[in-house]
């Protein structure tokens, strides 16, 4: 069967089985390989995308479940230039191998959407569903704070 999902503002129609996970639909059918698979138990958060503006793990949603909804991936986040969180991640050296980065950025944006002025502890709690093996998280927490500052400055 064909599945149609709005991804990054564009309708994507591709043949897929009912059991196809959203992450595999995005990667294999849409060619959006910025979203990664890091585990098989919904623990690592490498596959985090937005569903109707909120962060979800695309490995625990079937593609068919998202028909009629809008998906945003890392490729769609900075479509008009870098998002402040993307910018802060490089400026604060908040990534090393970069495999967790797409999901980590999506979760960070979601966190700031919901809480524009998070404390360090709130950032840590907000990123609990994303595992990074390289950075020790120190610079990731820093990057989220730096991004918050820029967003609040720009929006003020």
């Amino acid at each position: 069967m064909n599945i149609t999902i709005k991804v990054n503002g564009k309708l994507e129609t591709h043949p897929a089985e009912a059991r196809t996970l959203l992450v595999d639909f995005l990667r294999d059918a849409c060619g959006l390989t910025g979203t990664h698979t890091g585990c098989d138990t919904s623990q690592c958060g490498c596959c985090t995308v937005f569903l109707d503006g909120e962060a979800i793990k695309s490995c625990n949603h079937l593609a068919v479940q998202t028909v009629g909804h809008e998906v945003t991936t890392i490729e769609g986040l900075g479509a008009n230039g870098l998002h402040p969180v993307q910018k802060a991640f490089t400026e604060c050296h908040a990534l090393q191998c970069g495999y967790c980065t797409s999901g980590m950025i999506m979760s960070s944006v979601d966190l700031l959407n919901k809480n524009p002025n998070p404390t360090d502890q709130e950032i840590a709690d907000g990123l609990e569903g994303n595992i990074c093996r390289c950075t020790g998280y120190v610079n990731i927490i820093e990057a989220v704070k730096v991004a918050a500052k820029e967003i609040n400055g720009v929006n003020a």
Partner: protein
């Protein structure tokens, strides 16, 4: 949808590598796709020790979309060999180690849960997986050997024919009789058994391979996470029986390696054979479950350590008996870890007149072991520093003063240890003093009282550690540099990054040496057909290995630029100077140009003539550090919080301070993971109990909020750059510092030794038991 305003200001990129990775444009192995590509699934053993009595895969073969089901027989028929063993040792009796290499696919016997038995290749990954469920395989299970201590017991199951008592080798280093003499004269002796438990390295990108065969050129293109193209090519040659020249390794991004990705696994061999036989590209992408089951695991060492002191606290000798769990087979670096990497620095940062280590390398029915971040270096540092701390408390010495008294003094370098290792220049006292200052060590008593008022326990602990970084398997590190018509310098090398930011550090070296701005430097690690030699990433060596070769390249290019420039400026070559990125003519100082301006004067032919080979031979270096950890323990729950962590590291000359900080953060946090939560658990029958992130805990954001780190530069003269390497230092310093701080908190309750990981349950149980006594 996010409603946030897009940023207007251009970012200050920390690294060249970042733009692709923050926008989802990176390219990892699973991201490579070919037309008509086939997919592979692996059927694995569910038993730790069993005879395969029946294997009927006909239903799998007949399943929709299946193209080929490969068994051990197919691997043999197509010339496949075994998983390579990179290092073997000699025993105490000067006999060769008993090496048992892992077959690509198990033939008639399986030796660990997760061992590959068959490859199923089909049109899609799901069809391959569906088909594999129809496999009819019968096993006759036997008693398994789940851990080292049971493996050595008399009468226990012998895993491999010809390997009595499951002992692959008993290695030794140092002088046992000198050590025994020292112990006989000692005023104080302490004994301590420490365990560095088995871990899963868990890079975030699971293992994967995509292979494509070009019939016309008789050549394979292999996309896979690797630590360096040469290591992967050579080991692929050994494992497949094909020639190294046929292997073209091509990869853009690697999602972490930590020592696990030196060479191929079984799946690489399967994909390579299948892509040629079937004439279509073959891809295998492992799951996290397969990472837990079948990535080489790390650590798995038990060290019985003893220390002899005179009445004044002067160290007389260290003695160790190590037990290294090899897992079911000897694979890659496993025999290197418990031998060279432990013994080479077994005296730590101390002047120890007599040293001896015996190390038993033992087979068990578990996943094979290989290198994981430090590969023995953190483990020996952990043993030395736990032992010093333990002995200080047992015999009433101040743990800091005991260390100070026994430090190798700055004027004693180069220092030759009792077992023959030559340490390069270090200054342990300076690092210790800075760490004590930055951690406000002297203010601990006050912080302890305030914790007590809250009903908490508090502890502080430190480590003064040193490690020997990799000497390199290949004698030389070579790089090749070529300027293009646009003034961009392209550097070709063999070492591949997996998050370290090689391209950024190398560009920084070029900037420092040649004045060329970093955006005019490109580093390429995976170019086919390169005749360069060099070492891959591993043992913290890329920066001082390949980095020194880049410095050599820059020195040669500088001379070439001067020669061309002298014609432009009509002066002698030695009239031209380059300083702080500015080229000047000595007799006419008003003539000043940046490197970019100079290169603009050159014709495209002149630019093309700027080409050189950089090469250096760089041996092991000795990164060292002093880490201080402070913890607070809730006695009601056993939960431990690291309230302060200070890392002072001497990494020699630092090239990229931002990247160095990041490496230390990551290393310290991997040490945190080992200290507080990570542990591979097998039950007594050899079944893996920690098979996912659900039951193998990983450090999460906020694990350590107060981590401060600095470097103290004591440049080495052992390489051209003066750098010592940073990749493993965070892990090496943190295991003992964290453990000593936990013991400091629990010691008032009479608890003076506990094995990692210090989980809340374990800590709570110990506290509870101590209070009952």
């Amino acid at each position: 949808m996010t409603t946030l305003t897009k940023t207007d200001q251009a970012p200050q990129f920390s690294r060249q590598e970042d733009l692709a990775l923050i926008t989802g444009q990176g390219k990892f192995t699973a991201d490579y796709a070919y037309p008509e590509m086939l997919h592979m699934y692996v059927i694995r053993s569910v038993y730790p020790n069993a005879k395969i009595t029946k294997m009927d895969l006909s239903a799998v073969s007949a399943s929709p979309g299946v193209k080929w089901v490969m068994t051990a027989k197919d691997i043999e028929e197509h010339g496949g060999k075994e998983i390579p063993n990179a290092i073997s040792v000699t025993t105490r009796a000067k006999e060769p180690q008993k090496v048992v290499r892992m077959p690509i696919l198990a033939k008639d016997w399986v030796h660990f849960v997760g061992q590959p038995i068959a490859f199923v290749i089909a049109e899609t990954a799901l069809l391959a997986q569906d088909a594999s469920e129809l496999a009819d395989i019968e096993f006759e299970p036997y008693d398994a050997v789940a851990d080292v201590q049971s493996a050595l017991k008399p009468g226990v199951t012998q895993i491999h024919p010809g390997v009595e008592h499951n002992l692959s080798a008993d290695f030794e280093a140092g002088d046992e009789s000198a050590v025994d003499k020292a112990f006989a004269q000692a005023a104080h002796i302490s004994h301590l058994t420490i365990k560095s438990q088995r871990l899963v390295g868990n890079p975030m990108e699971p293992r994967a391979v995509t292979a494509y065969y070009d019939k016309e050129q008789d050549r394979f293109t292999v996309h896979t996470p690797t630590q360096g193209i040469h290591g992967m090519q050579n080991f692929l040659g050994q494992a497949t029986g094909l020639s190294v020249e046929q292997m073209k390794i091509e990869i853009q991004n690697v999602g972490g390696s930590f020592g696990l990705r030196v060479g191929p696994y079984s799946e690489h061999v399967g994909a390579i054979i299948a892509c040629k036989v079937l004439g279509r590209a073959v891809k295998w992408v492992g799951t996290r479950s397969e990472v837990f089951l079948s990535d080489w695991q790390g650590r798995a060492l038990t060290l019985k350590a003893s220390i002899a002191l005179d009445s004044q606290g002067q160290i007389l000798a260290f003695k160790y008996h190590d037990y290294t769990d090899l897992g079911a087979y000897t694979s890659y670096m496993s025999s290197f870890i418990g031998t060279r990497n432990l013994s080479i620095t077994m005296g730590g940062v101390y002047k120890v007149p007599a040293l001896y280590m015996r190390s038993d390398l033992v087979f068990t029915n578990t996943t094979p072991i290989s290198a994981y971040r430090g590969a023995g270096r953190p483990d020996i540092a952990y043993a030395v520093e736990r032992m010093i701390d333990f002995a200080a408390h047992e015999h009433n010495f101040d743990p800091i003063e005991l260390r100070r008294k026994n430090f190798i003094k700055p004027d004693a370098f180069p220092y030759v240890t009792a077992n023959g290792t030559t340490y390069d220049k270090c200054d342990f006292e300076r690092l210790l003093n800075r760490a004590l200052e930055l951690s406000d060590y002297s203010g601990f008593a006050a912080r302890l009282s305030s914790s007590k008022e809250k009903g908490r326990l508090r502890g502080i602990g430190l480590s003064t550690v040193l490690e020997a970084s990799a000497a390199g398997n290949v004698q030389k590190d070579q790089v090749e540099g070529q300027f293009g018509p646009n003034g961009v310098l392209t550097i070709y090398g063999v070492t591949g990054a997996s998050g370290q930011g090689h391209a950024t550090s190398f560009a920084q070296i070029v900037k420092d040496e040649l004045g060329l701005s970093t955006e005019h430097v490109v580093y390429l690690a995976s170019i086919a057909g390169t005749k360069l030699i060099g070492n891959g990433t591993g043992g913290s060596r890329t920066l001082y290995g390949a980095g020194s070769a880049i410095k050599d390249l820059c020195i040669k290019l500088r001379a070439q630029v001067k020669a061309v420039l002298s014609k432009k400026w009509n002066c002698a070559v030695d009239e031209i100077e380059l300083s702080a990125g500015v080229w000047t003519q000595v007799s006419n100082p008003s003539l000043k140009s940046s490197t970019e301006e100079v290169l603009k004067l050159f014709t495209s032919d002149e630019l093309a003539s700027l080409h050189a080979l950089g090469e250096t031979s760089s041996g092991a270096t000795f990164p060292n550090g002093c880490h201080v950890a402070e913890v607070e323990v809730d006695p009601n729950t056993g939960v431990i919080e690291v309230v302060n962590y200070t890392a002072i590291d001497d990494l020699g000359k630092v090239i990229s301070p931002v990247l160095v900080r990041g490496q230390v953060h990551g290393g310290v946090l991997q040490g945190f993971g080992q200290a507080f939560m990570e542990e591979v658990v097998y039950d007594q029958q050899g079944q893996l109990l920690t098979g996912s992130f659900m039951d193998y805990a990983m450090p999460r954001a906020g694990a350590m909020m107060n981590l401060r780190n600095e470097t103290v530069e004591v440049p080495t003269t052992l390489n051209l750059l003066g750098s010592k390497g940073v990749g493993e230092s965070g892990c090496t310093g943190s295991l003992p510092a964290l453990s000593n701080s936990v013991m400091s908190a629990l010691r008032p309750l009479g608890i003076d030794q506990m094995d990692m990981p210090f989980t809340p349950y374990k800590v709570w149980t110990a506290i509870n038991a101590s209070q009952k006594n």
